[in-house]
C-alpha cells in the first residue's frame, strides 16, 4: 500500500491510492468498461448492478467522454475525455459518509485544515431513467465528488438502495496537487526518468477529438448507427429467454445494454455536431431512456438481477 502520510505527487498516484483504499474497504476493483460512455454511472457495474436484491461492492476508474466539453486542450478545466472514479456499494452501508471521508484523507486531504461540506444535489439521469438523493461534496468551496443514494434506475425502485460515489479525477487531482491547468498536471512521478504531464498524454488527443466531434464526424453515419443500435437492442430483448442451442435460460441483458450505451454516446456526438434541435433533443433522450428501461427490465430477469427460477 502507498504511504498515505505524504502528499501524492501525480495524477496516477491519486488513482492508485483510491484503488487501494477502496480495495481495503472490501470493494471489487473493476476495470473500465470497454465502450465509450458519458460517465462512470453508465458502466454496467453501476447501472445494472444497482438493480435487484443481490449485494454488490465495486470500485473502478471509468474514462468518460463528453464531446461538447472539448476545448482543443486549451481550457484549464474542460476536457472531452476525462476520468471518473466510481464506487457503488449495495446496500449502502451506514458509515458510507465516513468511508468516503477516509478516501479523501487517503489521497492527502488533511481534514484538520480543509472545510468539507455536503451540499444538497439531487441526481437525475434522464437518459438512464434514474434518480437519487444526495449531495455534491465540497472541499474548500470546490465540488470534489457526487454522493448519491440511488432510488430508481431504469424506472425500477432500487431495493436495497445503493450508495454511489463519483469523483471527477482531474479536478480533484488538480486541487490536491495544486495545479492550475490540467495539461500541466504530472501524470506519473515528476522525478521519473521519463516524467509525463497530463498534456504529454492527452493534449494531442483533445485536439484531434475536438476537431472530429465538432466539425467532421459524419452525421449521416451517426444517425444511422443510432437507429441501428436502437433496433439491435430491441431485437436482442425480443429473443425468448430460453436459448434454443443450450437449452438454458439466457436473458441477454448486457449485450442489449451495450447497444443502449452506444446509442447514448452517438446521441452525445450528434449533439456536439449541433444537428439536434431543442425539440428533437428531448425526443432523442426519451429514446435512449426507453432502451435503458428495457435493459433494466431484462436485467431483473437475470440471476445477477435477483431472478430466482
Amino acid at each position: 500500500m502507498t504511504d498515505q502520510t505524504t502528499a501524492p505527487r501525480s495524477f496516477q498516484e491519486i488513482i492508485l491510492r483510491l484503488q487501494s483504499y477502496w480495495a481495503s474497504k472490501g470493494c471489487a476493483i473493476m476495470q473500465p468498461y470497454d465502450m465509450e460512455v458519458g460517465a462512470g454511472t453508465f458502466h454496467p457495474a453501476t447501472t445494472l448492478r444497482a438493480l435487484g436484491n443481490r449485494h454488490w461492492a465495486a470500485a473502478y476508474v471509468q474514462p468518460s467522454r463528453r464531446p461538447t466539453d472539448g476545448r482543443y486542450g486549451e481550457n484549464p478545466n474542460r476536457l472531452q475525455h476525462y476520468y471518473q472514479y466510481q464506487v457503488l456499494i449495495k446496500p449502502s452501508p451506514p458509515d458510507l459518509q465516513a468511508l468516503y471521508l477516509g478516501s479523501l484523507a487517503a489521497i492527502g486531504i488533511d481534514m484538520d485544515l480543509h472545510d468539507i461540506r455536503f451540499v444538497e444535489d439531487d441526481w437525475e439521469s434522464p437518459t438512464l431513467g434514474a434518480w437519487g438523493l444526495g449531495w455534491e461534496v465540497w472541499c474548500d468551496g470546490m465540488e470534489v465528488s457526487q454522493f448519491t443514494y440511488f432510488q430508481q434506475v431504469g424506472g425500477h425502485d432500487c431495493a436495497p438502495v445503493s450508495g454511489e460515489l463519483t469523483y471527477g479525477l482531474e479536478r480533484l487531482a488538480m486541487y490536491v496537487l495544486g495545479v492550475e491547468h490540467v495539461m500541466d498536471m504530472p501524470f506519473n512521478d515528476p522525478d521519473a526518468p521519463i516524467a509525463l504531464s497530463y498534456g504529454d498524454v492527452f493534449r494531442q488527443t483533445e485536439e484531434e477529438y475536438a476537431r472530429w466531434n465538432f466539425d467532421t464526424a459524419d452525421t449521416g453515419m451517426l444517425l444511422r448507427h443510432f437507429e441501428e443500435a436502437e433496433k439491435e437492442c430491441a431485437a436482442i430483448l425480443s429473443q425468448p429467454a430460453q436459448d434454443p442451442k443450450t437449452g438454458k435460460r439466457i436473458v441477454m441483458a448486457h449485450p442489449a445494454y451495450d447497444q443502449c450505451i452506444k446509442a447514448s454516446h452517438i446521441f452525445n456526438l450528434l449533439d456536439a455536431r449541433g444537428v439536434i434541435s431543442v425539440t428533437e433533443r428531448q425526443a432523442y433522450i426519451g429514446r435512449v431512456r426507453a432502451l435503458a428501461k428495457q435493459c433494466a427490465d431484462a436485467f431483473v430477469q437475470t440471476a445477477a438481477g435477483g431472478y430466482a427460477a
Binding site: S92, L113, L133, G134, C139, D140, G141, M142, Q151
Partner: protein, 717 residues
Amino acid sequence: MPDLLIELFSEEIPARMQARAAEDLKQRVTDGLVEAGLTYAGAAAFSTPRRLTLAIEGMLAGSPARREERKGPRVDAPEKAIQGFLRGAGLTAEDLEQRDTPKGAVYFAVIEKPGRPAAGIVAEVLETTIRNFPWPKSMRWGSGSLRWVRPLHSILCILTDENGSATVPLTLEGLTAGDSTEGHRFMAPGRFPVTSFEDYEAKLKRAHVMLNPAERADHIWADATNLAFAAGLEVVEDKGLLAEVAGLVEWPVTLMGRIDDAFLDLPPEVLQASMREHQKFFSVRNPASGRIERFITVANRETADQGATILAGNQRVLSARLADAKFFWDNDLRIARSDMGIWLQALENVTFHNKLGSQGERIRRISALARELAPMVGADADQAGLAAELAKADLSSEMVYEFPELQGLMGRYYIEAAGHPSEIAAVSQDHYSPLGPSDDVPTAPLSVAVALADKLDTLTGFWAIDEKPTGSKDPFALRRAALGVVRLVLTQDLELGLLDLIEAHLKSVLEAHASATRASDGTVAVAQAPVELPDGRQVDPRTQDLLAFIHDRLKVYLRDQGIRHDIIDACIAMEGNDDLNLLVKRARALNDVLATEDGENLLQGFKRANNILSQAEEKDGVEYSYGADIKFAEDDSERALFAALDAAKASIDPALAAQDFPAAMAAMADLRAPIDAFFENVQVNTDNQTVRRNRLNLLSQIRSTCSSVADLTRVEG
C-alpha cells in the same frame, strides 16, 4: 412537570428544507401530544445541517384519566340492538348499567379510560411523526424501508424532571432511541449523553455546534459586517443567502478573501451571481466606487492555520469560476459589438412552447404589438419595435445560458455595447417587470410599451391554446403576467381598450399557433364563434375570458388597497370595463360615496326601489321603463323626487361624459333624501292602477339613473 427533548440526527439535511422541517416536527409532535391529553407550557424547535431538535417544557407527566358515558338502547329493546351497542362500545353485557329515565329503563355504558404515563404517548407520537414526516422529497437507504430526507442515524428522546432524566423507550426500523448525540463532525467527533435541553445545548456548543439557526445567522452577519468594515468595505445584504449558509454549517467561521484584479471589470451583477450561485459567497462592495472587490465565505470549522488553507482553496475555485464568466462576457461582447443578429437568428430555433412556435416568432409578435402600443404610451413606434426585437436577444448569450437570472440585465449591457441608445438598452432589463404586487413598475415609455406587449402576448398565447392556470397550478406565471398588465396600465394611467388589443393580437397568435402545430401535429386551435358583448361588439370568447381573468387580478390588487370585490363587480358590469383606469376611477368613486352616510342610505333606497320594481315586473309580466309623468303625482314628496331625478340626470350625464365619477356619484347620492322621503310618504302599490304604474315607472327612473353610474344590484349590504 417533565420536559421533553427530541433530536433526530441524520446525514446532511438540505439547507432550504431545515426551517420548515423544524416547524413541522414541532407542529406534529405537539399536536399528537395534546390530542392524547399531554398539554405543555412551551415548545421550541431548532435545526442544524445534521439534526432537527424539539424541546418541550412543562409537559404533563401523564394523560388524565377520562370517564365517558354512553347512552344505549332501552332495556326492553330487541337483543340485536343491545348487541350492536355493545359492539360499538367494545364492551360486554356485564359492563352495562341500567338507569331509570322518563322513557323507562335504559342501558348506559360507562367507559373508564385510565391515564397513561407520558413516555408511552411520546413514543407513539414520535414514531407516527417520523413515519409520516412531510419532507418535500424523501428517500430510502441501505436495506430498510423507512423514509427520511437523508439516512437517519440516531434518535434522542428523553424526559427530564426533578428526579433526573429517562430515555423514552422507542425502537423504529432498527433505531433505538437513546440519550446521546454527536457534536461537530470534524471538530468534536464521538457521542456524548445529555440529561436535559440546557445540558444538550451547552454540550453541543462545547462540541462546536451552534444549535439555533438564528444564532448562526446573526453570528455570520455580525462577523461578515465586521470583516468588511475593518477593510473600509460593506457586505451586500442577501437574506436568502444568509439563511442558506446558516443551514450549511454547524460552526460558522467567516472568512474574507480578495477577488483577482483581472475580474474586477466584470459587471457587479455577474460577480455577485457567480459568487452566490456557485460558491454561496457574499459580495463585498467598495462604497466609494460601487465595485465588488472582495468576497466572504463561511466555513464550517476552525483550523490551526486560521482558515488560510480554506480561504486559499475558495479563492482558487472562485478564480476558475470567474475565468469562465469572463470568457462568456468577452465572447458575448464580441458578438454584441459585431452582429447581434446572430443571437436573434439562434432564437428562431428555440421553441417557446410547442404550440406557440419559436422564441423568434414570439419576439416578432411582441415587437408588432409594441409598435401598436407605442403611441398610446407616448413612445416612438419604430423605437419600440426595435427595442422589443432586441430585448430578448441575450437569451442566446453564453452568460444568460450560465446564469438565467441575469436575463435582461445582460441584454442591457450588450445592447448598449452594440451602440444602441441607453433607453433602448434599458428595455431589455425593464420589460420583464413588474414581477409581483409591489416591485417597481417601468416608467420609461419604451419600456412600458414592450413590457405590456410581452405580457399581453404571453396571456393571449396561452389563452389561445387553452393553457390557463388552474387552482394552484400556474406553470407559465400567467397570474403574474396579468397582474403586470394591471399594474402597468394603472401606474402609467394608460387609456387602453384591452378588448380590441387582445382580440387583434389573438388573431396573430392563432396564425403562429397554426404553423407551429402543423410541424408538431398537435390539435390546432382556431378562431371560435364570436360572443356578443353588452355594447354590441363581437369578440372571440377567449378574449372575453382573458379580460375576465385580468379583472380578477385587478380585484385582488384593489382588495389589498381596501376596495371590496363587490364594488369592483358593480363597476365591471358597466360599459368600457376594458379600460382599467376608467374602471378603477369608477370603483374608487363608488367606494368613496358608499362610505358616506348619504351613499349608504342611497344604496338602501335604491335596493328598495329595485326590489319593489322587480317584484311588480315579475308579477305583472311587464317592464316598467316608460317615462313617468309628473301629472299623475299625488304627493309632494313624489313631485320632489321627479324634480330631483331630473336634476340628478342633468348633473350625472355630463359628469359621466367627462368621466368625472366623483361628481356623478355625488349627484346620485343627492337622491338619497328625496328617495327616502318618497318611500316614507308614498305607497307605491296603491289601488289606483294609473298611479301605481306611474310610481313604478318613477322607480324605474331611479334604477336607470343610478345604474348609469354603477350596477348597484351587485353591491352587497
